[in-house]
Structure formats: C-alpha cells, structure tokens
Symmetry: C2
Subunit: 281 residues, 2 copies
Amino acid sequence: MNTTQTAPLAINRLNIHQVTLNQCNFRESIECLSRHGIRETAVWLPRLEETGVAEAGRILRDNGIVATSVCAGGLLTSAGNAEGSIVLDRNRRWLEQAAEIGATSMVTITGGLPEGVRDLDSMRAQALERLAALIPDARSAGVRLALEPLHPIVCGFRSVISTLGEALDALGQLESDDVMGIAFDSYALWWEVSLEEKIRRTAPHLLCVHVSDWLQDTSDVRLDRGMPGDGLIDNRRIRGWLEQAGFSGSIEVEIFSERNWWKRPPDEVVETIIDRSRQHL
Amino acid sequence: MNTTQTAPLAINRLNIHQVTLNQCNFRESIECLSRHGIRETAVWLPRLEETGVAEAGRILRDNGIVATSVCAGGLLTSAGNAEGSIVLDRNRRWLEQAAEIGATSMVTITGGLPEGVRDLDSMRAQALERLAALIPDARSAGVRLALEPLHPIVCGFRSVISTLGEALDALGQLESDDVMGIAFDSYALWWEVSLEEKIRRTAPHLLCVHVSDWLQDTSDVRLDRGMPGDGLIDNRRIRGWLEQAGFSGSIEVEIFSERNWWKRPPDEVVETIIDRSRQHL
C-alpha cells in the first residue's frame, strides 16, 4: 500500500510508554505526560514496584492518565524447575498490581537462556508451560497476557520467542484467546519478511502496539532504540498495515535510550515524540 | 537428537576462515594456518584484492591450503538503479578472482538498506533481480553463489535476507540450483525456531557452513563474535543436525572479533580453535 494514504496519528491515540521517560520517577513521568496532553501510558513495572500501587494509582488518577498495560512481565525461563514457583508468584503479584491500577493487559516476554543453558527448544517449552500456568491467574485478575516476541538480538537474555509466527503458534497451543494476545513491537519485528501478511494474521490478537526506531549505528543490543524518524523503520507504513488489518487502538512509543533520550529533559522528549508523530507515526 | 552422539570434528574437516586472522596480511594468515595443519580456508575478498590473485594463488599453493570459497560478495542493493551495473561489474570481478584461485563458491550477501531507503520489500526484490543477473556469470566462471542469510541484527546494513526460509524461497524463485546454494552461519541462524527441520530442507543446497559463538554480553552488532564455547550457541548440536541431514563438508570457523581475537597472536587463535573444536564443533 501507499504509505501516503495513512493519515497522521491523532493525538488521542498517542500513548507514551513510561520507560521512554526513564530519567524520571513515577510521578515526574506521569505529570510530564499530562502536561503535554498525553492521556495513556504503559506502566513500567520496576517504577510501579518502587512507588507502590496505591500511590501510583493516585498519581495516574490525579493526572488523568490511563495505564493501558504494565510492562514487562513474564521473564519465565530458569535453569531449574525449582525456580518455577518463584517466577510464577512474581507474575501473579504483577497481575494483581496491574489490576489495581486499572491496566487491562500485562506485556509478557518469555525470558532468554539462563546461565549455562544453550538448549533453546527446552526453554521455549518451559516458557509455554509457565505461561499456561499463569492463565487462570490472569483470568481471575481480569488482566490479559500480551505475549511479546522480541528481536533475535535479545534471544539470549530476554526472549526465546523472536517472531510473530512463533508468538501466534504459542497462542494456538494455549487456546486462551479470551485472556491472551500479542504485543507487537516495530523495533522487534520490522525486519520480518511478508510483514504485512503476518500483521493480518496477528490483528485479531493484538493487545498492544509499541513503536520506536532502529538506528543505523545502534550501539547496544537493548538500550539504544531511536526516536521515530531517526532510523530505518517505516512506522507509518507499518501502522497502515495494522489499520488495514483492523487495528484501531493506540500506538505506544517505547524508547529505551541510555545514550540519548534518557539523558534529555523529559519535556523535550515528549515534545519531540508529538512532533515526530505527525510525520512518522 | 542427543548431542553426545555427534563425534568431535576431524581436523581435516576444520576450515578456518581467513577473516578470523584479520590481524594478519594474506601471507601471514595462510602461513599460520599451514603451520597448524589446517588445509582449507575461505578467502576474505578485501585481503585478496589487496594482495592480487596471482600472488594470493602462489601463497595458497606454496602452503598447501585450498580456498574453498571467497567471502563476501554480493552487497547488491543500492538506492538507485543506476548503480546496478557498478554492483554487477564488481561481483563479476570477484567471481573471476574466485575462479583464478580455485575457489568453487562465492559467499553472497544481499546488502542492506541504502542511505535514505526504508522499503525492505523493494530492496529484497532488487537484490533478487541482481542475483538473477549474476547467474550466467557465475556459471561461466564455474563459481557457485552461496547465498547467506544474516542475523536480523544486520538487516539494516548487510543483508535484507535474514532467515533460512527466505534464502530457500529466493533459491526457489531463481531456479538455478546448479550454480546457487546456501551458506549457513550458526551465528546468524542459531535463534531460529524449528532449526533442525529447517536444516533438513536446506541440506541439499548447502555450500558452506560457518560457525562462531554468540556472546551473552556482545558489544557490537557485527564485529564481536565469540570463539566456539564462549557463548550461547550449541554448535556441536547444530553440526549433528547438519550431518543427519546429509551434510559432510567442512566446518568453517569465522570469527569477527575486533575487541578480542583480532588483537591476539594468530598462532594462539588457531591453537584455540583446534582445541575448542574437540568439544564444541
């Protein structure tokens, strides 16, 4: 499709992920978003845990910000089976916290290869077993699990599920579409061949859409994402594909940027995102 | 399969890629390999061009080293069509050089996104057109094109083809199995799901097998590969899959390592590879 057919993103569909303002504490980031007319965020779990759900909920309400999801739960893999109950208990706590602040989904990544383990297949199987074990808890919390495939660059330490196809296969196996879906991240998936067709298959399962940009000279495997427009990803075209496939939800700008955006004043970051959204989202 | 069933690699199947000794000039690297009983290498094209084919051929013969391939040709993509003839002429020269030193294949990567281009599909189409145009030249040179999918981490600047499936699809479209095949690189492909099954489909087309290791703390998207045994890739298991699928060729250790192995004495590097091959290849 011709990308010029996709209109700029309306401001009320622009969600800014809390981790994008990682230079701020919980309150500072939410107040900053509110100041610039942003109405939605994805709450970063480490920030939520340090602030406490009661206080976090108050800050969100006082500033008129909706937490659409919490991010990132899961991290399910471990070298031994003994750790399974610790992993699951931690996720149950996150699901409860998500529910308490009104978030309807938890972005869920599988985790990578634990120290000393090189058997990807066994870790994939373990992650799926543990996801299955979480499903009743997610259902009773009223919080959906948004399974997020991550770029193969972090297969080793963040996610043994790397592609949309794998994530869809996992959903098929778990047969719990009422409480499970997909988090789509353009940074993780932009390189996939036949992406438009894969997006069509994913659309009925989409719970979250994250965007950022892949920098040509990226210097870190995880914490050097770019501002939309600064890199190689055609986010406007990808949004066109998502919308043609039926997606009409918000677009979450999620930028991990240790060397650049996390060092800047948060107001400048949010203003830049709003500005870039006109041309690039 | 049980990886313990795969016997250690015989030394006469151990090929060390010339770029692994990038601290050396052409002669130094070939003499070093010869000193340690290595009989095969993949010749690094920039080294070949700086040395000249006549001199390079002499050095190889004098040291009893066979050049199984040259690496890396292709780099086919460009922003405009005008550059197409330059790209093709450069590849024709490389094919002739390969033939002159007796190499039977040229590892061929597509190239990435040229400056200012974000349309992956059009670059994939362009790369395939240019590959098609090279086929008669490869045939007349008697040098096969070994199409190498690279890790999505370098989709932006080295290869718009990232997976075995895409490479096999390209081969299917080009219908030139007499003169085209696949270069398999464990560093590029270790994260792929159902890798064993994909290897079975790839086996009839395999021209080269490259191995190295993915470091947990990798610090560069291209030049920080690890020595087998130092990272996350189970190269022994992957070789088992390759052999069960019918592959019996040599295993090429190809380590780009700006921060470590390229700084060490070449004899130490080769000794380490031979030592590691006993347990990890």
